[in-house]
Symmetry: C2
Subunit: 324 residues, 2 copies
Amino acid sequence: MDETERLLEVIRGRGAKTVGLQFPVGLRPRAVELAGELEKRAGVTCMIAADPSFGACDVPEMPVDLIVHLAHAPMPHLRYRNVFFYDLPTPLPESWAFLDAALSRLPKRVGILTTTQHRQWVPQITERLQAKGFEPVVSEPDRRVAYAAQVLGCDYFAATNIAADVDGFLYVGTGDFHPLGVAIIVKDKPVVIADPSTGEARTLDEVKDRVLRQRWGAIVRAQDARTFGIILSKKVGQDRSDLAARLKALLEAKGREGRLFYMDLVAPELLDGYGVDAWVSTACPRIAIEDYLRYKQPMLTPQELEIVLGERTWDAYAFDEIRA
Amino acid sequence: MDETERLLEVIRGRGAKTVGLQFPVGLRPRAVELAGELEKRAGVTCMIAADPSFGACDVPEMPVDLIVHLAHAPMPHLRYRNVFFYDLPTPLPESWAFLDAALSRLPKRVGILTTTQHRQWVPQITERLQAKGFEPVVSEPDRRVAYAAQVLGCDYFAATNIAADVDGFLYVGTGDFHPLGVAIIVKDKPVVIADPSTGEARTLDEVKDRVLRQRWGAIVRAQDARTFGIILSKKVGQDRSDLAARLKALLEAKGREGRLFYMDLVAPELLDGYGVDAWVSTACPRIAIEDYLRYKQPMLTPQELEIVLGERTWDAYAFDEIRA
């Protein structure tokens, strides 16, 4: 059944009069379109959430009867109230050239990883690899990740869970962040990206080296910092207040100052002018890794702060994950 | 009693263990300092709210025992839960030169206006003007404005309430926005600014003309817009959902489309890419007036939308206020 039809049935079933729409930045025009369609066909009033949503970790309350959250998979460990997850999977590709381009780089025992929008391709990918003589392995989902093979920017269970059973990974998707996380977490195993948007395959060796150099740079720059700002997210699935409290206590035990900063959206202009020497983010791990250059002061992950404070060695560097 | 001592007493009295701090952008370093002082002296854990606060209209909940809100006066009509308003008035000036510089431009019957940070100067200002032969008039506070003579960017009761009794206004403060609002609202009466930061007095005639030309430009640009985005604020003191619903119905009655956008912080990058032709803000009036040039599409006030739709004439142009 078409997803909009399924949604209309839910709206009717619940007698919803007002509907809120939440969605990632790339779907802004689609959200406006859907609002128009729902108002016309279901007689509801729609309210478009203009605060950006970065995932199913980020489903703020709205003054409506039903929230429609587009394109993210619900996190099994979170309780959502009156939320309809509107699934927007990418249709099966017409050409599997992007997958075939990856074959020559894959080990025989290969772990399959992807994001929610491509998750429906996994059976065909597995079949295709098996037909070529590979032994693909797919992880079960878990408490934070809804679907088999699915990775999140903050959760690589689908990789670590099967790391002992494979000699490398195939990541199907666009963008570098997720496979980069995999490559850093499963240090000694190759990660090959098969990118359906370009039709090509690639590895991340150079990106990984550059990012790790940047992380080392951030750690060195924070070495003499006296006051650290510890960022604590308002977003329901990014709440790590216990970790933030532990980092504050650790900083104080080491003779530094830790100040807690509570916020929703994390952005450079919102952290300007506080007179803080360095930041540690307990919110989404992408903030430190991906947006590093946008911040004036070094922006660390919790594990990187431990390195600064001599509680962890660089050899034990770990990519930041939010695990339930 | 020193404001921090008063706060420490409240913290002790309530047995608060966690304290949240909210403050305008200009007070960021002061907030970090106060957090350190409270943690040291009261043994509490402080949490600095890094989402910017623009006024007492904007006091979001925090997971703490007590919220400390700096430098804004509480709005009498709002109910605040566990909020301590930390008063930060500007001390009486050493020189009254800025006031004396205004005298030659003031009418005899003059209304006194200011913001909360200078409200304690009002008795001395009144006295000084009386000694020089003026007849100063000060408005009582009301449901949205806590103090006599106080204006807000969204509430000019202190001016309109006494407009019939005066021939012009003296505004004591820095910045153009508040006196601009006064000048547009009380069309035919001069507004003189006595600015303690520069020590000088000035009028706003040029600024007012430029802003009104800009507003006219925005109205003209929105004339052919088909889809309007109606901005509805999450902030407790900026909620005008009834007005937003009325504007949506008005747009639809006029054959246009109105889409509701629900958001906290309003910023250009958050409104980009929706395919909307024009915006109407029911949030803080400053967004349309002060930040106009930052938005790609015309950004209107509710009254300006009425002009676009032929429901109001330009001669009946009204500055946007949020009245309880």
